[in-house]
Amino acid sequence: MTVLRTPGGLSVRFRPRALAVGLGATVLAAGLGLVALGSGDYPMGPTDVLRALTGGGSVAEQFIVTELRLPRLVTALLVGAALALGGAVFQSLVRNPLGSPDILGFTQGASTGALVVVVVGGGSLALAGAAVVGGLATGLLIYALAWRRGVHGYRLVLVGIGVSAILTGVNGYLLTRAPLMDAARAVLWLTGSLDGRGWANAGPLLAVTAVLAPLVLVGCAPALRMMELGDDTASALGVPLRRLRLVLLASAVLLVSFAAAAAGPVSFVALVAPHVARRLTRAPGPNLLPSMALGAALLVGADLVAQRAFPGHQLPVGVVTGVLGGGYLVWLLAVERRAGRL
């Protein structure tokens, strides 16, 4: 822990290693973003991309970069950051390395909302709205069911598993109700995809992240760190546990739901990014900022792989994160078990 003091009496505490990881991940995300902006049917070098971004270059180059590729990149960055932040908050709240929205049932709830729209019929805006409503409703339901003089980690996880099992059944059923073409569209959405994402997808997520990320990072992070010491210690230190949990849960659910509305429930980013962050920073606590940066880098990287891995065949980004995340998860389960942390 390093403390930086200004002559005026202000002081900032930070861990050099965590700061380095956060900066490194940000640079990585920016670099991958530059590659993403420059790659495609019309390849461009990094200098051309930067020139187009700053208003130079030909009209065609400007159009390709700012109108076609930038919205997709911004959506990817935001979805990755929002999922990672939501996941980091969940994992910290339930004090379990596996307490991510994928496993707790929020993504299934968002999927149920979206599938209802697919079956009933509606545009992509209605689909996104329904995903947010579904995710929020599931969050409320799980909170209400797990509430018993406060919400505690393991009960929340188990209630989440139960609710997600029910919703998986409901989702499968809804999928059989749709005509085949709509079902294919729904499965694509359920996997998580960034194809054809424009400013209309990035906008709402940007607004939500702009409000909630500072709230969580600045307003709640210190208290969250104290909560990891245990409920008794935290309340002895003056943390308003119940209110804080509610605010944090609501923020995390909102972030995850809006991310799902923008790109579909991309699996495992929320689980993996905070983990990798914790391992890299070697710092206790929720590691919120490094997680966000890593999540953004992870999703942009996965999207690049998804577009490039099979030439002539674009995979949705969720396939890549699913395969990577699944492998990581199995490895993690084995390691955590051996270390007795799980």
Binding site: Y154, R155, L158, T168, V170, Y173, L180, L342
Partner: protein
């Protein structure tokens, strides 16, 4: 098996029930002072089992009679027996295979759930929740998409392979000795999430498999025909035999590894046998009907309230009542979903989910 085990296994029931370690997964520890004497309890259990069989028979008849075209009982009877009856085709081609498949799959899932709960001492163990059905699904999805396997005869082998891999994995990674219910459930949920994201990825690659698999992954008896039944029956029967044979040694294992070893049982052998049984049961059931959750959770819990934790009674009850539940849910789905039908997997999820939540909310299982 040594004589020592046999002697312990035939101890009077109250002694077994009163051992705290046996009841880790049981709702209550019976109060010895009010428990009826062994003989009367034996009679009560036997009568209860007969009642359960009667219930199953009623539901079997309902499952044949109720459907898109409901048949009066007399027609069901003549359709079953007489070649020339008008109902012969409906009964023999559609309703009877469907009912038999429900019987087989229900028994398989119920017994698999019961032995898994005993083996892992985990009240939340269920082949669906622990990812075993998802493992079978993932293997079937690979077979259907990449290897061009379309028939149930091919599915079975892949489903068994997938089920075996996940059973071993979830047990090695999240289970083993000293694993808490919550840990095991979490390991299962993690595997579930991974495998289902894999299945949907596979479905995306190929619209034809999507069309086939989206109906299969819900869990349904609708595609049953006599070939399916004869194909999965041997696997399920062998699995049932292994599970029933493991009942006594599993009872001994519930006392703890050291005690079981002292009684002459071989823990490693028992665990291996149970894993084989669970794999056969879940793999075959999943291949035939798709992944069905909560049957393996719900039935053993309800039954345990009637019989206590002794597996020699628990397993037969489960073997009778689980198909009753599955077929009942299937009939319910046919009635509620008219003119189409609700798939049975969806009905069991909606019925079984609340029970799971209730078990969790009682707080017995929520502590690591």
């Amino acid at each position: 098996m040594s004589t020592a085990v046999r002697r312990v296994a035939t101890l009077p029931e109250p002694t077994l029930d009163a051992t705290p370690t046996v009841t880790t997964s049981a709702p209550t520890v019976p109060d010895l002072s009010t428990a009826p004497p062994p003989k009367r309890r034996l009679a009560a259990r036997a009568v209860g089992l007969l009642g359960a069989v009667a219930l199953l028979v009623v539901i079997l008849v309902l499952s044949i009679a109720v459907g898109a075209k409901s048949l009066p009982l007399a027609d069901v009877w003549s359709g079953l027996l007489h070649h020339d009856a008008g109902e012969y085709a409906v009964v023999h081609r559609m309703r009877l295979p469907r009912t038999l498949l429900g019987l087989l799959a229900g028994t398989a899932l119920g017994v698999a759930g019961a032995v898994m709960q005993a083996l892992t001492r985990n009240p939340l163990a269920d082949p669906g929740l622990l990812g075993i059905n998802a493992g079978a699904s993932a293997a079937v999805a690979v077979a259907a998409t990449f290897l061009g396997v379309t028939a149930i005869g091919g599915y079975v082998w892949f489903a068994l392979l997938g089920a075996a891999l996940v059973t071993a994995l979830v047990y090695a990674v999240g289970g083993g000795r000293g694993a808490t219910p919550a840990r095991l459930a979490l390991a299962g949920a993690a595997l579930n999430a991974t495998l289902y994201s894999f299945v949907s990825a596979v479905m995306l690659l190929d619209t034809a498999s999507l069309d086939r698999l989206r109906f299969w992954t819900v869990g349904s008896l609708a595609s049953a025909d006599s070939a399916t039944v004869t194909r999965v029956a041997p696997f399920i029967l062998v699995g049932l035999l292994v599970a029933l044979a493991a009942a006594r040694p599993l009872n001994a294992l519930a006392l703890g590894d050291d005690a079981a070893r002292a009684l002459g049982a071989r823990p490693a052998l028992i665990r291996g046998a149970v894993i084989v049984a669970v794999t056969l049961l879940c793999g075959a059931a999943t291949a035939a009907c798709g992944p069905i959750v909560f049957v393996g959770l719900l039935v053993p819990h309800l039954v345990r309230a009637l019989t206590g934790p002794d597996l020699r009674w628990l397993l037969p009850y489960c073997a009778v009542l689980a198909p009753a539940l599955l077929l009942g849910a299937d009939v319910l789905g046919r009635v509620l979903g008219r003119p189409g039908e609700l798939q049975v997997g969806m009905v069991t999820a909606v019925l079984g989910g609340p029970l799971f939540l209730w078990l969790v909310s009682r707080g017995r299982v929520a502590h690591p």
